[in-house]
Symmetry: C2
């Protein structure tokens, strides 16, 4: 059986719970508190040199890290992925975009707003990242003008990855109503069978 080391409040962890649900993959879920440092124990460091969540342990003890890589592994051979090299590349294109342009901006600002005490916050830092996040949402909105989903003309792991933090952009101080195509896509994703809500605090 697979074991997911899960940080319930993390969007990156949500992605893995969502694919497990969508594809009905048997998996033991071990919640860890990423905020109180449970992923920084010596024991966990042996599993993941990066000391981050989520991480997926295979029955033989191999541990996979990075939400995008775990999505890729679990989606292999399913309708959430593709065997076609071009579709595969399109899926990855948006997953790399997500890590660089959404997670490194919107997810970081949202984290600062929701979890940091006032003295630890740097509003100027948040402002720069928020502006970068808005630029990324603009790109997503443009792409969705003529596309229902991000790659391969269907719902794939690229949509699962991008949904995680773009749909909570409001919690990072961004206004999603400026991006109507994203709002329609969010609705499309949430109305799918087996959709599970992002765990809120």
């Amino acid at each position: 059986m697979l074991t997911l080391y899960d940080f319930p409040e993390s969007g990156n962890s949500w992605k893995i719970r969502q694919i497990i649900k969508t594809l009905d993959i048997p998996c033991k879920i071990v919640p860890l508190d990423g905020l109180s440092g449970e992923s920084h124990s010596e024991e966990f460091k042996k599993k993941n040199v990066d000391e981050r969540l989520p991480a997926l342990e295979l029955p033989d003890g191999t541990v996979l890290a990075e939400s995008g890589a775990i999505l890729w592994y679990l989606a292999k051979g399913s309708e959430l992925s593709s065997d076609d090299p071009l579709e595969e590349t399109e899926i990855l294109r948006w997953m790399f975009f997500e890590q660089n342009r959404i997670v490194a901006t919107i997810a970081v600002v949202r984290f600062c707003i929701l979890y940091l005490v006032e003295e630890k916050r740097d509003k100027s830092f948040e402002d720069v990242l928020r502006k970068r996040g808005a630029g990324a949402l603009k790109v997503m909105n443009s792409h969705l003008k003529n596309n229902d989903y991000f790659a391969a003309n269907r719902f794939t792991i690229a949509d699962i990855a991008l949904y995680a933090y773009s749909h909570v952009a409001g919690e990072a101080g961004l206004e999603l109503s400026h991006f109507p195509n994203i709002l329609r896509w969010i609705k499309r994703v949430e109305e799918r069978e087996r959709f599970i809500p992002f765990t809120e605090r």
Copy 2:
């Protein structure tokens, strides 16, 4: 023939020039000036909704974006990639890590230092990102303690991706001598046949 829209000063573009050289792939290279806005023309926007470089145009007009996705496409079936699902996942793990933890930190700070006029710079923003970049280098250094390369026990596109901006961390104000395993890996990468130097200003 393939066409690479290349920004010669960009580490992300270097990755594609490097894989083309390593695998001896025929490719026309069209340099564009990413700084003066040549990628924001209406004509280029039709090729890449994200208006960024590098981008790879296939003979049928399909355009691939995101350096990681382009690397993936070009490496398919070669020794720089893998057919094994676990090795493939390990390669992607480090490529996602690169986009989120190296490009979004070190590459951004380096860009601010090298290209922005003093009045446009926000030192506090740079400091926070520099600290995050140092954390990412620490993870790389730990992984390289027991590994010559990042994935699949050999040189892959994960190494090409990670080399691009980690080897110029000094230009972002970070001290690579604190990360001796990274320095040894950089030497290993640079001593490989067909290595091409990162184009400096």
